[in-house]
């Protein structure tokens, strides 16, 4: 119990130090934690916080879901098919290191300022890592599983659904967990430029509309907390009984 409380105690101590340091030396470069807390309270009162959180989550959900729906089946096919893999791999390796943020001008050109552009950027940020995860997961399936599946006379579709898919699920879930984190990083940046709602917009707006750095930091804190919750949600999937095998054995 004490061990579990330690990180919380550490955060509390740091907050106190922060509060103390800023009140001792009045400055404009950083708001106090108390000012941040009141700022968050203010946003809650105006109903803005909930609205912006929902807007950001909405975009991430769509971008992430579309990426999963497209990248996973495509990755399984490419990973399974040696020729497709050899043909597409160089292209993927070139596209992958391009930050999704580099696509912002094109996203706005194609989809205009609005949800679609933001969703597209999140989709891009999630799509490539997930695709590569799926490809590598299929290529890493031990040959014995595939041979055993073939030996029992499975059709190709049954081989996919009863051997390939279950064999890659644990790696896909880890990939999805990492990718959702990426999506949550991208949404903030996308909202700073492409839309006029959401937590990313809140940060830019709070600064532009009156240098409200208490709200800027407040939005950062909320982003961090929601990111943590998303990660915990994905991590709980890793504890499903039928998936535990991949973590308990080499």
């Amino acid at each position: 119990m004490i061990v579990r409380l330690r990180p919380i105690a550490l955060i509390a101590v740091l907050l106190l130090l922060w509060q103390f340091a800023v009140t001792r030396n009045p400055t404009h470069i950083l708001p106090t934690p108390w000012a941040v807390a009141t700022g968050i309270g203010e946003l809650l009162q105006h109903g803005l916080l909930l609205k912006y959180v929902v807007a950001s989550l909405f975009r991430v959900t769509w971008g992430f879901a579309l990426a999963v729906l497209l990248a996973v089946p495509l990755g399984l096919i490419i990973g399974w098919n040696r020729r497709a893999n050899m043909a597409l791999n160089p292209l993927l390796q070139i596209l992958r290191p391009i930050s999704p943020l580099a696509w912002i001008p094109l996203a706005i050109l194609w989809f205009g300022v609005g949800d679609l552009a933001a969703i597209f950027l999140i989709f891009l940020g999630c799509f490539f890592p997930l695709l590569l995860t799926a490809i590598n997961a299929v290529r890493g399936i031990p040959a014995v599983y595939i041979n055993a599946g073939r030996n029992f006379g499975l059709s190709s579709t049954a081989l996919v659904s009863r051997v390939l898919f279950p064999a890659v699920i644990p790696q896909l879930i880890i990939g999805m967990r990492i990718t959702l984190g990426v999506g949550w990083l991208v949404v903030v940046a996308a909202e700073m430029i492409a839309v006029s709602s959401g937590l990313g917009f809140l940060i830019v707006d709070a600064r532009n509309a009156g240098n409200r750095y208490d709200l800027v930091v407040g939005a950062m804190v909320i982003i961090g907390l929601i990111g943590l919750l998303l990660d915990m949600g994905m991590r709980s999937l890793e504890h499903l009984k039928s998936l535990r095998w991949s973590y308990s054995e080499d």
């Binding site: 014995v144 041979n147 073939r150 030996n151 029992f152 049954a158 039928s242 998936l243 535990r244």
Partner: protein, 251 residues
Amino acid sequence: MRTAKLQAGHVHMVFTRDGKSMPVLDDISLEVAEGEFVCLLGPSGCGKSTLLSTMAGFLSPTSGEIKIDGEVVHGPDPRRIFVFQERGVFPWLTVEGNIAFGLFHLTAPERRQRVDHYIKMVGLEGFEKAYPPALSGGMKQRLEVARALAVNPDMLFLDEPFGALDSITRLVMRGELLRIWQAERKTIIFVTHDIDEAVQLADRVVVMSARPATIQQIVNIDIPHPRDISSARYLELRDGIFQQIGLAHKI
């Protein structure tokens, strides 16, 4: 003479790696009778597993052919199941799920009955809902054998199935396999590098040379089961194979 279940005719296999060709199997011809228990015995890496994979249809020979029941083998078939040590059990399925894996063409009650029967046969009662990581090596091995037997194949290919087990479990498993073989009369081809194991189990031991593998000798083990492993005949056959392989049996 019993009817030939499997016939290998002048099987050659050449692997190409980094532009170099490596002969692995050199002119292997062999007949295995219906219901026979044959051990392929040879040093590690000699190509005996390659021969077994070829018989099972996972690999195609470079030249020559494998016939089973008079038909040329073109791929794996549920009538002949390959047992891959214990590594072949599916870790995402429970014990029941693994045994039922090949029974998709049966109705649910038939499947239930078949699964229960084989769980009992290999002594995994009480572990029906367990996942393989919770099982010991010997239990996983029995599970894989049960999964193979459940589809009622007429042949089993076993690739050093007990190699990863401790010596006590290995002895128990040999007894189990013989019991199952005598009860179900499957044709069994069993790869091993363990001379004692081969002489304890097989009707005939096919002694293979180092790579590229050729058949050096085929030894008939004319001792009825259960075999007394301290009998003069057993020791004579075993020592004969030791000499054939070129090992003195003094350390």
